[in-house]
């Protein structure tokens, strides 16, 4: 096991310990995400130089460029930023709650719930707005069911994991059944949604996620980051330090479930962002604890980068972004399992 690392003393602002390195990582990731975004906006059938893109985004472009950027390409980039940030924040929260680096919402059943809701809408032939609604509803209902089933005189990590895996297995069966119910066209549409794609996203797709992130991210980042870090030392110790453990968990699970469901509604269940972003963030900051802020920024950079790669990797052929994150995440997962095994944590 590695030796305990000295932690640089941090300044406490609004209840959050800001360590210089964590802030630097967050800022660096946001810069990277912006750079990816500018490149993504600049590419396509009507190429634009980065300086043109920045000028147009800030409101100084020609009418044609203005339309292309503001109506067609910017919504997609903003969706990628927000979905990545929301998934990564939810992933960091869950990994800390269940105290396991694999405990991300896509493995604990929450994403499958969104998928079930969305598939029900696809099979009954609903519109894309109804599909988003179905995803949110499915995710929230699944979250409540998992929370209720895992509750037993309090919410504890390992039971949340096992209940989540059981629910995942049931819902995977249900989702498979729903896929066989539709016609081939519907099944293809559902399959594209299940993979996670950012094609053709408009402002109306982003808005709910934007509002939710604006409300929930401060609640989680400012209100719960410190208590969450304390519970990582054990429930009793945290209680002794004045943390209301179960109340905090309820708020955190609720926020994370809402963020995951709304992200799924906006882009589909993009796999592995919630798993990998918190790990990358922890590696970069070198700090213990949930690293919520750095994870959020890393997630945004990760998904914008993956979307850029999905658009450019094969000339003339766009992949859904979920394929890219799935391939990268799968490889990372194998490495992670091997490393965990070596460290004796599995």
């Amino acid at each position: 096991m590695s030796a305990p690392q000295p932690i640089a003393p941090g300044r406490v602002v609004a209840g959050v310990a800001l360590r210089p390195r964590a802030v630097a990582v967050g800022a660096g990731c946001l810069l990277l995400a912006t750079a990816f975004g500018v490149l993504a906006i600049g590419g396509g059938d009507y190429p634009m130089s980065p300086s043109d893109v920045v000028r147009t985004v800030l409101g100084g472009g020609a009418p044609a460029e203005d339309f292309i950027v503001h109506e067609l390409r910017l919504p997609r980039v903003v969706t990628a930023l927000l979905v990545g940030a929301a998934l990564a924040l939810a992933g960091a929260v869950f990994q800390s709650l269940v105290r396991n680096p694999l405990g991300s919402p896509d493995l604990l059943g929450f994403t499958q719930g969104s998928a079930t809701g969305a598939l029900l809408v696809v099979v009954t032939g609903g519109s894309s707005a109804a599909l988003a609604g179905g995803a949110v509803l499915g995710g929230v209902v699944t979250g409540i069911v998992i929370y209720a089933l895992a509750w037993r005189g309090g919410l504890h990590g390992h039971r949340l994991v096992l209940v989540g895996i059981g629910v995942t297995a049931i819902l995977t069966g249900v989702n498979g059944y729903l896929l066989t119910r539709g016609r081939l066209m519907e099944a293809a549409r559902a399959m594209l949604w299940l993979t996670g794609s950012l094609d053709g996203r408009g402002w109306e797709d982003v808005l709910p996620l934007l509002v939710a992130t604006a409300v929930l991210a401060p609640v989680v980042l400012l209100g719960c980051a410190r208590p969450l870090a304390m519970t990582e030392m054990g429930d009793d110790l945290a209680r002794g330090l004045g943390v209301r453990v179960q109340g905090m968990r309820l708020v955190l699970v609720g926020s994370a479930v809402l963020l995951t469901s709304l992200a799924a509604a906006a882009a589909g269940p993009v796999s592995f962002v919630a798993l990998t972003a918190p790990h990358l963030a922890r590696r970069m900051t070198g700090a213990p604890g949930p690293n919520l802020l750095a994870a959020t920024c890393t997630g945004a950079a990760l998904l914008t980068g993956a979307d850029l790669a999905a658009q450019r990797l094969f000339a003339g052929h766009q992949l859904p972004v979920g394929v890219v994150t799935g391939v990268l995440g799968g490889g990372y997962l194998v490495w992670l399992l091997a490393a965990q095994r070596k460290a004796g944590r599995i």
Binding site: M1, N100, L102, G103, D106, L107, L149, R152, H156, H158, R159, V161, L162, V163, I165, G166, V167, T168, A169, I170, T172, G173, V174, G176, Y177, L179, T180, L184, A187, A188, M191, L192, L194, T195, S271, F272, L275, P320, G322, V323, G326, V327, G329, G330, L333, V334, L337, A338, R341, A343, G344, R345, I346
Partner: protein
């Protein structure tokens, strides 16, 4: 971190003859226990026979027991076509696949010493699926003969991975299950990706990935039989060494077992059983989890009794699920894989809530 061996979980430890101190005084007890186990085995066989008749008799057209019998033996009877062309292949497939999954689950639980090991939950069936999806998507392989080799390769790869993660050092149930869930997620996102690229693959794969016995043709069961027979025989041969392994490697060695050889044998067994079953009916979860638990309650942890009993009771579950799926959604049907997931999931949750304590 210093490695501290975990004592074997109580439910896996078998009191072997050699570990009994006073054999003479225990003899009547032992006889009573063996009687109980034999009764469990007999009961399982009777249940299996009943489910076989139900599977042949129930469906879109109901047949009585007498009609089923005539349909089986009398080529002129009205039921002959229904029984021979439709229900018999399906029933045989369920029999073989069920036995394979149940025994594979039992062997995996013994191998990883983990009560939550299941070929479906740990991703072995998903590994076979991913290989089959690759074959269907890139090479256009759709027949069972082509598929089975890919499925075996995929199952083998994931078996080794799961063993590397969960074997030997004995991971806790929750951690192993989570690692399996992660493997599952990665493999299914790959399967989804291949289906996305090719709509022909989607059309065949979306029915196959659910896990169903409905695709059975006359020859499928015959083609998968050799793989499953080999797997079952190997499992029976491993029963005694697996008992020894439950006591820990050192004790196993002193009882004359070779831990490394047993593990390799167990991985080969699981691969054969899960690969063939998945190639024929798609990935099915929970059969391999539930049946060994049920059987352990009936026969105790001795693998020599457990594995045969699993082989008899698991098809009861799978065929029961298949029959139920045919009955609840008439004139259509619910695939067996969905029924086992929907019935098995709540049982799993019940087990988690009852057994796993803080």
């Amino acid at each position: 971190m210093k490695f501290v061996p975990r004592p074997p979980p109580e439910q896996f430890v078998v009191v072997t003859e050699s570990s009994q101190i006073s054999g003479a005084t225990r003899a009547p007890e032992k006889r009573a226990e063996n009687g109980r186990r034999a009764a469990a085995l007999l009961g399982s066989a009777i249940a299996l026979a009943a489910v076989l008749v139900l599977s042949l008799g129930l469906g879109a057209r109901q047949l009585s027991v007498v009609e089923v019998w005539h349909g089986l033996v009398d080529a002129d009877s009205a039921a002959y076509t229904v029984v021979h062309e439709m229900r018999l292949p399906r029933t045989l497939l369920g029999l073989l696949a069920g036995a394979a999954l149940g025994v594979a689950g039992g062997v995996m639980q013994a191998l990883t010493r983990n009560p939550l090991a299941d070929p479906g939950l740990l991703g072995i069936n998903a590994g076979a699926s991913a290989a089959v999806a690759t074959a269907a998507g890139l090479l256009g392989v759709a027949s069972f003969q082509g598929r089975v080799w890919f499925a075996l390769a995929g199952a083998a790869a994931v078996s080794v991975l799961v063993y590397a993660v969960g074997g030997g050092r004995a991971a806790t149930p929750a951690r192993l299950a989570l690692a399996g869930a992660a493997i599952n997620a990665a493999l299914y996102s790959y399967v989804n990706g291949t289906m996305l690229l090719d709509s022909a693959a989607l059309e065949t794969m979306r029915f196959w990935t659910v896990g169903s016995l409905a695709s059975a043709q006359g020859a499928t069961a015959a083609m998968m039989a050799p793989f499953i027979a080999a797997g079952l025989l190997l499992a029976l041969a491993l029963a005694r060494p697996l008992n020894a392994l439950a006591l820990g490697d050192d004790s196993a060695r002193s009882l004359g077992a070779h831990p490394a050889r047993v593990r390799v044998g167990a991985i080969v067994t699981v691969t054969l059983l899960c690969g063939a079953a998945t190639a024929a009916c798609g990935p099915i979860v929970f059969v391999g989890l539930m049946v060994p638990h049920l059987v352990r309650a009936l026969t105790g942890p001795d693998q020599r009794w457990m594995l045969p009993c699993c082989a008899l009771l698991a098809p009861v579950l799978l065929l029961g699920a298949d029959v139920l799926g045919r009955l609840v959604a008439r004139p259509g049907e619910l695939q067996a894989g969905i029924v086992t997931a929907v019935l098995g999931g709540p049982l799993f949750l019940y087990f988690v809530r009852r057994k796993v304590r803080a």
